[in-house]
Symmetry: C2
């Protein structure tokens, strides 16, 4: 037990170091030597945990996705109405990722170009997990008579796909500097999607929803 | 007039050559020499039109976007009900791009990694044009009392953002082999979005829409 706990600690410390160095040097210029010095361990120790710089970077992104998932779980379990919860979760999946990379947004292009192929595969795993949490809230909304969706699993994927283009992977450096704009975009997407998912006879619980002209 | 027409012809012939060579060699292995031989012109002639391999590739992608825009204009001007037109346009913007790169989907990752930064900027221009065509159809839908959206320009952008994650830029090689799956995904997204945009008292004109459970 003791050993495993310590392994996890070092694992996490190394990824904290990656985060600092991505901001300081960027992906291309960051070396394993820099990282070892930053964390205060030997280079060999890093290789015990991560096979390569790419593996290190992908694990760093995985950690962002895992932390996001914890936050989504917390939002999903809150007492707010189901449509409010969905709205907050969609904003969170966009903005938490945004905030996690904003301190190295200038060099993010290098990173994403370099690990693109394997990152695309990892993203699928992250997205499936996020869809599963959203699905639970949708099911709850149907049970309470607030949401109308015959296939909550399908609708959860629609929510994920519809907001995926706002994740850092698809943003220009300029867009990565505009948090307000991204917040506005995800809110506008959520408006239309939720209007499509809310039971026609139910009154939407959100106050932020724009008035319709009918 | 004659000279301009011939310049355009050569421009187009060169891009046709790029398309063939991307399928044969992929982006990384394709050289300007290969391209000159393929088109049957001198290497110097290519440089008269395109400054670099990156510029050539971005122009190739621009051409796909321009051809798509023509098709979107045609769909927008059809006699079909506005919501049907929107649905077909969303499918077209996903599937036309899909079909345009499917013969070199194996090497697409190299290409997209290499030109990522400048491509992201170009994409914004493409997306704005597509949103403008969609906006016209939405306005038409509001005028006819079929659609309810207080801000058609905003809603048009929502339609674009919500389907952007299905474009080749964000797909894995595996997904680029699954046309049916992508068709299904864009259709499911369109279902929810259009349910959110259709005027509550109006009867949707689409027959493909899934029954709601309320």
């Amino acid at each position: 037990m003791r050993d495993i706990a310590r392994r996890d600690d070092i694992h996490d410390l190394i990824l904290d170091g990656v985060d600092v160095l991505l901001a300081r040097y960027g992906f291309k210029k960051m070396t394993m030597e820099d990282l070892a010095r930053q964390v205060g361990i030997g280079k060999g120790t890093i290789y015990l945990h991560f096979r390569s710089k790419e593996e290190l970077t992908l694990s760093h992104i995985d950690r962002i996705a895992e932390r996001l998932l914890d936050r989504l779980e917390a939002l999903a379990g809150s007492a707010a109405p189901p449509d409010d919860r969905v709205r907050k979760m969609l904003a969170e999946r966009v903005l938490y990722r945004f905030d996690s990379v904003t301190h190295y947004s200038q060099s993010l292009n290098d990173l994403l170009s370099s690990v693109r192929k394997n990152l695309l595969a990892r993203r699928q795993v992250h997205f499936e997990k996020e869809a599963a949490v959203l699905e639970r809230v949708l099911r709850d909304g149907v049970r309470r008579g607030v949401l109308a969706c015959p296939d909550p699993a399908s609708a959860a994927h629609v929510l994920v796909w519809s907001t995926n283009s706002l994740l850092p992977f698809s943003l220009t450096t300029r867009e990565l500097g505009k948090r307000k704009e991204m917040e506005e975009r995800v809110s506008r997407i959520a408006d239309v999607l939720l209007r499509g998912l809310i039971r026609r006879s139910a009154r939407p619980s959100t106050r932020t929803q724009k008035p319709e002209c009918d």
